[in-house]
Symmetry: C2
Subunit: 311 residues, 2 copies
């Protein structure tokens, strides 16, 4: 079966990741692109500046991949589901938790697949870490996610607005790995959020977690002010071993000092392979756990004002 898919929102993530992943997978055909700016790849038969026309005109479109900024994802996804299309959602899947819950419900009611993608989860090292941790007690978890916002988000203003998530935009990738690999549910017990004086979103955050195990040391540091080498590491220490380190955002895994996974980036091809499986089985996959932790971090977060940030 070849699924006809349309991309809605044709910005950087769609061009860099979704387009090549769809091209490389013989079970998907890129039928259409909807882009407000009128951008288009060569192979899309149909292009639209208004996604509503796409949903209305292309009756045989099977699915859409929604790659817009998060603020408009819910409205688009709702209309796509109501038009009978399956929906793949870039991360974060919506602007709020209530919107995501609504999409889960509509997908269920319409019998359409809703797929929340968390790209950092699609690494072999992450799977191995999860399998290694199963049944063990984690006594130490240290997440260090430090990158240079000027490099990764040059001039982007929406990430600094209220609802733009700030440093949680990359941080949620770390949280999506944590919720996938940890053998027990993880709760946020303390959250310190650093807001630049001139911005409405945090530039750094420190989180303390708990799984209910007494004496465990579980925490995360997110920082968007890291120049020079960038760090996307998760260290995990289990009772009775082993000592594990995931680095490069999940692509490399060391277990007791030995490298057991070190892959080139295969995240989006894996996402589309998973989407195939879900479409074939008609099952949705709505994983709200990473997003819920972000909501919790803001809800119980202590706000500290730090120096203004200039692009």
């Amino acid at each position: 079966m070849v699924y006809k898919v349309g991309i809605i929102g044709f910005g950087k993530i769609a061009q860099d990741q979704h387009l090549p992943a769809i091209r490389a997978n013989p079970n998907f055909e890129l039928t259409a692109v909807a882009s407000q700016r009128g951008l288009k790849p060569n192979e899309a038969k149909h292009t639209f500046t208004d996604y509503r026309e796409m949903l209305r005109d292309l009756r045989d479109l099977d699915a859409v991949a929604i790659c817009t900024p998060p603020q408009v994802r819910h409205t688009i996804a709702r209309e796509a589901l109501e038009a009978g299309k399956h929906v793949l959602l870039e991360k974060p899947p919506a602007a709020t938790l209530s919107e995501l819950e609504d999409l889960r419900r509509i997908g269920h009611d319409m019998r359409k697949v809703v797929f929340t993608t968390w790209h950092a989860q699609y690494n072999k090292g992450v799977d191995i870490a999860r399998d290694t941790l199963a049944g063990r007690t984690v006594k130490r978890l240290v997440v260090t996610w430090k990158e240079d916002v000027r490099h990764w988000h040059p001039g982007q203003q929406w990430i600094w607005q209220a609802g733009g998530f700030g440093v949680f935009d990359p941080g949620i990738n770390a949280l999506s790995i944590v919720t996938k690999i940890m053998p027990q549910p993880v709760f946020i017990k303390q959250s310190d959020l650093q807001f630049p004086a001139n911005r409405d979103a945090p530039i750094a955050a420190e989180l303390q977690f708990s799984t209910g195990v007494e004496g465990a040391d579980l925490r995360a540091v997110f920082d968007w002010r890291q120049t020079g080498p960038q760090t996307w590491d998760i260290e995990i220490d289990c009772e009775g071993g082993p000592l594990m380190k995931l680095s490069l955002g999940g692509r490399r895994l060391e277990v007791d000092g030995e490298i057991v996974a070190d892959e080139s980036d295969d995240e989006y091809p894996q996402i589309y392979r998973r989407f195939e499986e879900l479409l074939a089985s008609g099952q949705s996959e709505v994983d709200e756990a990473p997003f819920r932790l972000v909501g919790d971090a803001f809800m119980i977060g202590r706000r500290v004002q730090v120096e203004p940030f200039q692009d």
Copy 2:
């Protein structure tokens, strides 16, 4: 069937509301109280300063009502469920959304009832409002929840700490009515939070909602600085009428200017009647919608610093 119930946390809400509601209901027997301060009512056969002793010693206890501050509810509820007790949770049901999701899962796994109570929902006027709104389009919703924190929370420090919810402690009562009565799901589109310079929780909030209906005016104002008359009102205007006003926190309902409900406070007796139904059927009722809106309000909230608040 008479259910043996234990109260955990015997502060103001337990003494003022749970105790008389249990006393007045012949299907419940107050068997035990666990209070760190050693407080006890006359009729409780057993009293404990440590709830863990209660859970361990009283094998025939059917259920517990958890009336502690929210920060410790999850741990207590988890242990109660694992000890085979049904659980009633005061509002808010946990410190974070992830904790509540965990309790839902454990209740399901242990086949025990988990009941999230939102006391403002248990008013006849709220039920009538919900029934009246079914199938209609709301074009205007204005929530005004203004009270004097010094009167209602004299000297309470935890409400001002990060994770103490601030003005959302009363505001969540309004949200629990909104989510119950509105005929469509409600999303928060904009949130402005006022933090006193010397506090880590908001003293006032303005929320803008959407249900996806274009041009509708849906909003809430919460304020903890209201001296004099206190206001707990919700006005609702439907396309083609009627015009409704819920006041006194849900106890009075006017429809097109006519009072159709004006009850004395029956919230907690109704909560225990509902608990009876759930226990009899073995069904949980985990309604996270009001709590999720609070998480959303903090996550997308814009923070404004206002003048320091002194008790």
